[in-house]
């Protein structure tokens, strides 16, 4: 296939902003992103880890502690999107690439792929990087490491 023009989400639509109600706990994750850190949580009862962070555990545990995730990992899977969903992004260059990055402890995170110089490959080294959009919203992208 021909090399796709790899675009990125330009801005989030305003109704997505309205739907974002941030708890004080989750704000700590966003503040971490602003400092270039990826914070996650671990259940003190069973040891299960959550990235992005969760504050209750399926085991019933309600006491979770914060820890920092190494932003580098490998590409778990990827796909090319040819039809951008309406209402999520006002201006999106299609086609664009999405993927799932796998961090240590088998933590998985979905995101847009950016900065690819060739076709994505499962297992390639990638890293997650936060970025502030023109709209002021925070996003993160998966880039080759």
């Amino acid at each position: 296939m021909s090399e796709p023009q790899l675009g990125l989400v330009q801005e989030l639509s305003s109704d997505v902003k309205h739907r974002q109600r941030m708890t004080a706990e989750f704000r700590k994750f966003i503040d971490g992103l602003k400092e270039g850190k990826f914070l996650a949580t671990e259940c003190k009862s069973c040891g299960k880890k959550f990235m992005p962070p969760r504050f209750t555990c399926p085991c019933g545990g309600k006491d979770l502690k914060w820890f920092e995730v190494n932003p580098e990992g490998t590409l778990y899977t990827w796909s090319i999107v040819h039809f951008a969903p309406e209402g999520i992004a006002k201006k999106t260059n299609v086609p664009y690439a999405v993927g799932v990055i796998e961090f240590e402890d088998n933590l998985l995170l979905t995101g847009h792929l950016k900065g690819l110089t060739s076709k994505p490959k499962v297992g390639m080294k990638v890293k997650i990087e936060p970025q502030e959009l023109d709209s002021g919203d925070l996003a993160y992208f998966i880039k080759p490491a």
């Binding site: 959550f50 899977t77 799932v100 979905t110």
Partner: protein, 159 residues
């Protein structure tokens, strides 16, 4: 009550994680597998007893995964099964979505599940349009998924 009822002989319900990336794998719906197991167990039927099936084809890949999750073909063989016409009305396996499925109707939420049961009734009582009537259909299966696999229901229906 109707003089020709269609009975629910099997029922299965299962849920799964909200975040897709919290699941053990991304190539099937654990909810479908568990709901199907429950439905088969409660009805005493198995995949090979099903004469006509309606699966939740919100997207093309969802239908292919459903063939595998419901036991209509081997795990990992859904694509090949489709190419071999397995799920076609005149194919070697269980005819799937002979009414065109969710996608052919634009997947109106809620209504799609009811649509499946309505068509299952037609098939079992032989009143479907000639070209898409499955001959001698007796045992029907309806598979319905909420969101992207968070909730799955499987019904087995017989006259």
């Amino acid at each position: 009550m109707s003089s020709d009822p269609l009975w629910i002989t099997g029922l299965g319900c299962s849920s799964d994680t909200m975040r897709v990336t919290d699941r053990p794998n991304l190539t099937n719906l654990g909810g479908s597998v568990r709901a199907a197991e429950m439905a088969y167990k409660s009805s005493g039927r198995s995949a090979k007893d099903i004469n006509v099936a309606y699966v939740h084809d919100c997207f093309s890949i969802a239908e292919i995964m459903a063939y595998e999750d419901l036991g209509f073909c081997e795990r990992g063989q859904g694509g090949k099964w489709t190419e071999e016409r397995g799920p076609y009305i005149d194919g070697p396996g269980v005819p799937v979505n002979v009414d065109g499925g969710l996608k052919s109707k634009g997947h109106p939420l809620g209504a799609t599940g009811i649509g499946q049961v309505v068509d299952a009734y037609k098939q079992v009582f032989g009143t479907a349009e000639k070209q898409r009537q499955v001959p001698d259909a007796e045992v029907a299966l309806c598979h319905n998924v909420g969101q992207h696999g968070q909730f799955v229901n499987v019904f087995i229906l017989e006259p």
